[in-house]
Symmetry: C3
Subunit: 206 residues, 3 copies
């Protein structure tokens, strides 16, 4: 790794770490929501919306700092992509939670819990990896594992789709569950995009 | 603000202003379409398609100039993102209008008019703001207001979704209206993206 | 055209050409799939998935090289966008194929074959154009023709949508075919994005 001769703004690392912690909160609340009854779901939905607002503030802080900082710890574009992708993870999880409440979907297939468990694991790994951006230490395990998780999420998603079309006969119920399941798949894709951006950053630094 | 010592191509400002004026035309025609009968809707749809073609030409002019200009008034990436986002606003409005005609949807919920009114207001604000990019004058009011409008659009959208699933029992009718409503929400998001790009540009200049 | 005084990494051209050849394979297999029975479709689906994996590897090679190369044959951003858009073409075609198998859709409207024929032609043109990036020779015919094809695809797509909503009365069947048709339209859009990126690169070089 190159020796740093120019002082570089380190607070980006803190901001990314903060942003990622909201993802853990969001993913765990989503897991809680699945097991809850309808009125508790509404209350959990509000807490996920709060987490989303805080993540949004964290994103804006990164963007503002990026626009006003001359020397950045890595490529401006990569910082922008990393912050946006972290934000997308949260947005998709919040949208899924919101639809579960809005559509009053009582029973969701068991595979939806599998999807959310993958998101919880991806969120944890992401939160653990963000502070390591400073030292670029053992990041490859993180992105390899998140890519593996995304493949797993994709398989669950395709099986879920086949199951929905095989089993659900009410088209409106089908539309509701399909949309929720797709938001969760979008969230898994967003976690993969975060991991790929970290890989890009690490390759440039190596 | 920094003093400009290098001459900078000013026609970008004119091109952005021209592009935004098509958005006002498009949004207003969309409003007219909602109140019209089926045959008038078809005719209005053609005028929206014309506006979309002209906006497309404006976008291509910006992109061509961008690829052939060495010194640009602000970051190349920001010019690209601004032109693309303005183009997206128009595309989504045109797609919504096209679906209204194509799906022969006669009655749309009242909240769809609320969505379109938000778009009309966002289009006006955007068209007023574009010429001010030259002086960077009082742009913050613009982006704050468009962000507020997008929040409002998002709330209308979520209420509309809940209403559709509560009230519409014909699944095919539901699919049609839902898709139209989502294109309008995509348009509101695109207006927010324009405003966020303007904010980025302004922050870099300040 | 400018004289090159700096040596530039030429293998990017080979990598783009390799990536585009997988698109021809994918589009042709998709065409075969439409005429096949259900069990053959499954087998063809696996071959499309294989082509998608190989295209994915080609994309990763380009990205890795991009991150580790100092002097690139054209703008880094354009290389990134070109590789991503080529990858998107494949992904959407593979998703469409996967849904045809997953949803066990037996009969698809004739216009779906028209959509796929447009994709086959776009894939061929793209594969022929990629090696010409080296000399920048007669690329304008390519991007003009792919833009024309995308317009044609768009028209077919809109007619297909109108036809589906006019003719299909089973909402679940409608949802299935609509989703497949939209993935094919996404693929056509991705081919246009590839052509627009090539145009951008050529304009900068001229």
């Amino acid at each position: 790794m190159r020796l740093r001769l120019t002082p570089r703004d380190t607070t980006f690392f803190d901001l990314f770490a903060a942003q990622a912690i909201h993802l853990v909160t969001g993913a765990n609340l989503l897991g809680e929501m699945l097991g809850a009854d309808r009125s508790t779901r509404k209350e959990i939905g509000k807490r996920i919306a709060d987490a989303e607002h805080e993540a949004d503030d964290a994103t804006h802080s990164i963007m503002r700092r990026l626009n006003q900082t001359f020397v950045t710890p890595f490529d401006r574009d990569d910082i922008y992509t990393l912050a946006s992708s972290l934000d997308d993870c949260m947005d998709f999880m919040e949208e899924a939670a919101d639809l579960i409440v809005l559509y009053k979907v009582d029973a969701l297939p068991a595979r939806v819990s599998d999807q959310v468990q993958v998101l919880q694991r991806a969120a944890e790994l992401t939160a653990e990896a963000m502070p390591r951006l400073r030292s670029m230490d053992s990041l490859s395990e993180y992105w390899v594992e998140v890519n593996r998780l995304e493949n797993q999420a994709d398989k669950i998603h395709r099986k879920l789709l086949a199951q929905l079309f095989d089993e659900v006969t009410d088209p409106i119920q089908l539309m509701k569950v399909k949309e929720i399941v797709e938001k969760l798949e979008d969230a898994a894709d967003a976690f993969e995009k975060v991991a790929n951006t970290v890989e890009t950053i690490a390759l440039k630094e190596s």
